[in-house]
């Protein structure tokens, strides 16, 4: 080959390299341009937790429903820590060291340290659901575990440790199969009461056993009887009284799963929504005094638009269309679509899933953890859905679905319509596992909402929100003085120019999980908040005006009382 030919070859090679670089740069630029970017930072997070569902091949129904997780600031240092539930070895499972729940302290920058032992919260029960709330109003968040078997209430000792006070508090709930749990103030007395959802009546010895193509499959929840749900009223002295029957929530058995408590009828008290598995969902409407009427069917939340009861899993709420009313978003089984119930404001809800695209991508999968979360701080709620089948052998009997599945992110266009953008949101959305509970909060305190996902039988996934939108935000912590300490149930309204948003502090949310006590409001390009209103449950109204953005504020009850504004 002569010199000229060599030169030509080199030139071609250089041109080729440049072309490759241009392509790479172009694709990277295209990726970066998309407003929502979630990065998988699990490996560098320091989290070594691995979930087990206690299974040994027997396919007990209590396996696949495990488990939820909690994001909360257990040590009061201003960042959200992570509590993972774990399964216990079920009958037939042998293990040297029983698996236990795990608490990870947030050290900042999405780095975590396992503090389970020091904190004393390594429960070895079969964990299903979890809720967090300061039941004794001492300024420190306590932890309630809804297990298969006895439940556990851990009281926060304010020194980084917890004490199991279940027996004293009287909230063990027998040996039931648990599901979602929520702290809420049912009667506006300033003390957090406790709602405990129950799944099916399970017995190792009397249970249906099925196979398909010779492979063991889980039985359907409809083949079991169900317990009614349980409601405990807080006596204000560290003990609770079971008021399930007299309150009206204990009269209707149902296989409860995800639960969320919020003011769905805008009457300033907290109602209870229970997603039931293959049975009509329940909406327990509060009369303000802790008496509940089940209004699922009448309100339109019991079934989907076809009148079908779904295999309801996660229950999330938020105001997706910024109309001042909290809507419900419920995940479900394969060949159903996760359903958005729009709150019409007259006690009625409307299944608008198909009109607004809120079920996109969900039809193929079993869907679990969910949240209405503003990932790009543009002032509207996007949707996150955790996916994964419950049968690890499902591909052998049904090629249209999969045990491992990518999770879904549906972006709100600001007009209340959703687009499936999962594949454009970074490597965090490419993870394929069998997800269950999911929690959403700003783990690294950088002004955007990150994601933690509990994956069945595997390590969790930590997704850091690296979206570079330049949008503004405001985070609000509430501190009750007369009402409950963390403002659970309080409604916050944030007005910034033409944008008005509402949210509430919820204890227990999504798929049997807990997250989001620090409220997060994306503001788009709006550089100040004109007005913040806080309506406390059983209390007054605080109003703040001209609030600066891009910061976390704490609003103490009564310090900005409306009458003084």
């Amino acid at each position: 080959m002569n010199a000229r030919a060599n030169s030509h070859t080199r030139q071609l090679a250089i041109t080729g390299i440049i072309a490759v670089l241009v392509v790479l740069w172009g694709s990277s630029a295209a990726m970066a341009e998309f407003p929502i970017q979630l990065r998988d930072v699990t490996k560098q997070s320091g989290i070594s937790f691995k979930h087990t569902d206690g299974s040994s091949g027997e396919h007990y129904i209590v396996e696949y429903v495990s488990a939820g997780l909690a994001l909360f600031d257990y040590d009061g240092d201003g960042d959200e820590d992570i509590y993972f539930l774990n399964g216990a070895p079920l009958r037939g499972t042998k293990t040297d060291t029983p698996p236990k729940n795990a608490l990870y302290r947030n050290d900042g920058d999405c780095k975590f340290t396992d503090v389970t032992e020091q904190a004393g919260v390594g429960d070895t029960g079969h964990g299903l659901g979890v809720a967090v709330g300061d039941y004794d109003n001492d300024g420190h968040l306590d932890l309630y575990l809804n297990n298969f078997g006895p439940n556990v209430l851990y009281r926060n000792n304010a020194d980084g440790t917890f004490t199991d006070v279940t027996a004293k508090a009287g909230v063990g709930n027998g040996r039931k199969v648990g599901a979602g749990a929520n702290f809420l103030d049912i009667d506006a007395d300033g003390n957090l009461d406790l709602f405990v959802s129950n799944y099916v009546v399970f017995s190792y010895d009397k249970r249906p056993v099925h196979t398909k193509r010779g492979l063991a499959m889980y039985a359907s929840p409809t083949e079991f009887k169900s317990h009614p749900d349980t409601l405990y009223r807080n006596n204000g002295d560290g003990t609770f009284t079971d008021v399930s029957l007299e309150s009206g929530v204990g009269n209707t058995p149902g296989p409860g799963m995800g639960t969320v408590c919020a003011d769905f009828d805008n009457d300033r008290d907290t109602d209870i929504f229970v997603g039931n598995d293959l049975s009509a969902n329940y909406l327990f409407v509060n009369d303000g005094k802790g008496n509940f009427s089940e209004m699922g069917l009448l309100s339109g939340t019991a079934y989907d638009i076809n009148g079908h009861s779904h295999g309801s899993m996660g229950a999330a709420c938020g105001d997706y269309d910024n109309d001042g009313k909290l809507d419900l978003y419920v995940t479900s089984y394969q060949r159903e679509v996760a359903t958005m119930y729009k709150n019409s404001g007259d006690g009625l809800f409307e299944d608008v899933t198909r009109l607004i695209g809120a079920g996109k991508g969900t039809h193929r999968h079993v869907t679990w953890g969910n949240g209405l979360v503003d990932f790009d701080n543009d002032g509207d709620c996007d949707i996150f859905v955790a996916c994964g089948h419950l049968d690890d052998n499902v591909e052998h009997i049904d090629g249209t679905t999969a045990y491992f599945a990518k999770n879904l992110l549906l972006m709100n266009d600001g007009k209340g319509k959703f687009t499936d953008v999962s594949d454009r949101c970074g490597d965090g959305m490419q993870v394929k596992l069998s997800s269950r509970g999911a929690g959403f909060d700003d783990l690294d305190n950088d002004g955007d909402v990150d994601v933690v996902i509990l994956n069945s039988r595997r390590e969790p996934t930590i997704l850091r929100n690296d979206s570079k939108t330049g949008n503004h935000w405001l985070q609000i912590r509430l501190q009750g003085t007369k009402t409950n300490r963390d403002g659970v149930g309080a409604r916050v309204k944030v007005v910034a120019g033409d944008l008005t948003q509402i949210d509430e502090v919820h204890s227990g949310h999504g798929y049997q999980s807990h997250f989001g006590m620090r409220l997060h409001f994306g503001l788009g390009k709006r550089e100040k908040v004109d007005r913040v209103e806080v309506h406390w449950i059983g209390g007054g109204v605080d109003v703040l005006k001209n609030v600066a953005v891009d910061r976390v504020i704490t609003i103490k009850e009564g310090e900005h009382a409306k009458t003084t504004q």
């Binding site: 196979t211 339109g300 638009i305 679509v337 009625l348 198909r354 039809h363």
Partner: protein, 360 residues
């Protein structure tokens, strides 16, 4: 004169409760045998697209969706004008949540046969699920003009489309029609609950709700019973029997009657309740005058459907051919009692009575 074969062996299989590995092995063997049988048809009839469509359907029934799709693709390469294949592919696409693809595939069905009933309703359902309500309404109305086969379902779809577009008065009428046509239609009753509530008619909503709850309970009880009685092995046997029966029908359609017979016999062995393959076998034996072969099959058909006068009459005539006159008379008598107005049964019965008199 056709030869007489030894007595038939199409008896129900003996019931043994299998579990674990033994069950898996038995089911695996049944599936393999069924797939082998239809693959043999594919090899035997290389010029036909029918075996390819058959093997795709067998894979689909066993849950092998990817294999089914591959065979359908091969089938379309041989014959691109098979609406059944596009329909199967569309249903899989829908199950996967690939709505656009499903609509495209059903579009191919309508290209091949624009008047095929049911397809517009399928597309409309997907369009409603995609929020494309106006297009869906047009298709449902076309479907209703085309066929009354799915009238209740189409009215339900119309109601649902109007409900979603918040045209409650327009939604009311088709929902009401749906429940008139099918009073146990729980979904339509639920639509009425919603519509009456939105129209400010609480009394009507309450009545619809009560009816919804009543019919839903019946549905749920039936569903629970179905789940309780799920039998994996029996269900696999049924699916395998369908595969063998399909192979038999495909062979028969091309004139390979001996191969067809073997497949139908295997289908009958596998599924003691399958009347269709036994009917085919009985026809085959009667047409080829193998009456003693036909006898146990016809007797099984009668035991599967004892109140069917036609089966009784056929069995009677077969007894007559085998010179079992008393048995023949008894069957014809039953057929006549079941359907007294049937002149043919009357004539045949009289003929047999005459034959009996002459024998005396």
């Amino acid at each position: 004169m056709a030869r007489e074969d030894p007595p038939d062996e199409t008896k129900p299989p003996s019931e043994t409760v299998l579990t674990g590995e033994a069950l898996r092995a038995e089911i695996g063997a049944l599936e393999k045998e069924a797939i082998d049988a239809v693959e043999e048809v594919v090899e035997a009839l290389p010029g036909s697209s029918d075996p390819l469509a058959l093997i795709a359907m067998v894979h689909l029934h066993f849950g092998n969706t990817a294999e089914a799709m591959q065979w359908w693709e091969k089938c379309l390469r041989k014959n691109p004008n098979r609406p059944d294949v596009y329909d199967g592919m569309a249903k899989v696409a829908k199950a996967r949540g690939e709505y656009d693809k499903a609509v495209e595939l059903w579009g191919e069905v309508l290209r091949i046969n624009p008047r095929l009933p049911g397809i517009r309703a399928e597309v409309a359902q997907v369009l409603i699920d995609s929020g494309e309500l106006e297009k869906a309404i047009v298709l449902v109305e076309e479907e209703l003009e085309l066929s009354s086969r799915e009238e209740a379902h189409c009215n339900f779809l119309l109601g649902k489309a109007y409900l979603q577009s918040r045209e409650y008065e327009k939604a009311r009428e088709p929902y009401e029609t749906a429940v008139q046509l099918r009073p146990e239609y729980s979904n339509a009753w639920y639509g009425l609950v919603t519509v009456y509530s939105r129209l400010g008619n609480p009394e009507a909503a309450k009545r619809a709700m009560s009816k919804f709850q009543e019919v839903r309970k019946v549905e749920q009880d039936a569903d629970n019973e179905r789940k309780r009685s799920l039998d994996d092995l029996a269900s696999t046997r049924r699916l395998a029997a369908e595969a063998h029966a399909g192979a038999g029908a495909t062979y028969a359609s091309k004139g390979y009657l001996h191969k067809a017979e073997l497949r139908w016999k295997r289908a009958a062995e596998l599924d003691p309740k399958d009347g269709a393959c036994r009917t085919q076998l009985a026809k085959l034996y009667l047409n080829s005058q193998r009456y003693s072969k036909a006898l146990p099959v016809c007797e099984q058909l009668v035991s599967l459907d004892p109140d069917n006068p036609m089966l009784r009459a056929n069995l009677g005539m077969l007894y007559s051919r085998l010179n079992r006159l008393d048995d023949a008379l008894a069957e014809l008598k039953l057929a006549r009692e079941m359907q007294p107005e049937n002149a043919e049964y009357k004539r045949l019965h009289a003929k047999l009575q005459e034959k009996k008199r002459r024998e005396r």
